[in-house]
Symmetry: C2
């Protein structure tokens, strides 16, 4: 079965034979990343043990890159997949001035983050992409 995540359209920061990492193009959330399992698998528990540990490690390395480069107040991690049941992890750097803080990003927005603040975060994205690639390539 093919779905929209079987062929991700966003530029890939990292890709190997098992998974891909993309930067999500979300104006309110610079640094929002997705770790996408390449094969069309639904749940973490559908993965072979070795593959599950592999994606857990990749999610962890992307979290470390987010913490190091984006310096968020908190990192949010989520594997939902109700609309697109193809295993993927959302990793979202959260700040106290972001659009939904302290609610999850799927709650209604409660504010607009200042444009210069968003621009400063967006300016870190090349460094974030490089750090993610570096971490995953040396795994």
């Amino acid at each position: 079965m093919l779905c929209e995540l079987c062929e991700p359209k966003a530029p890939t920061v990292y890709r190997d034979d098992r998974l891909s990492v993309i930067l999500v193009d979300d104006a309110a959330y610079p640094g929002f990343c997705r770790v996408i399992w390449n094969d069309h698998v639904k749940e973490m528990s559908d993965l072979a043990n070795e593959d599950r540990l592999y994606i857990n490690e990749a999610v962890y390395q992307v979290e470390l890159a987010l913490v190091g480069v984006m310096k968020p107040f908190k990192v949010n991690l989520a594997s939902l997949g109700n609309m697109v049941p193809h295993l993927h992890w959302h990793l979202i750097p959260r700040y106290e001035d972001d659009a939904q803080f302290p609610s999850p990003v799927w709650a209604p927005a409660v504010r607009t983050t200042d444009k210069p603040v968003l621009a400063a975060r967006r300016a870190l994205l090349p460094q974030l992409a490089a750090d993610i690639a570096r971490r995953l390539e040396k795994k």
Copy 2:
């Protein structure tokens, strides 16, 4: 620092020296579980490697219990912690007739699930609790 998760109030399904599992009392989401790290730690990346693998494994075992007992359409996994920055994982069995489906449970509700359906799911909770305890005790 003590927070509300440093001393969880809900009945504990499982507890060891590192983590606890509770069933969340959410009328719309029978089977909603939380895996809570006992110590007041903020991020997955703040854990020692061994501890991170330990909680990943516990989350996986609870997911297996949810899949086996609750038979959801999809399992949702999330570590957010913006309001209570004490490491915990939400595990939510999702169904196509649940209050927010296919949106995340933090989005506005779009329907009310039929009461007999919710009651049937609620009736599975003792079995879910027993399965979680069995899986984690034999780890």
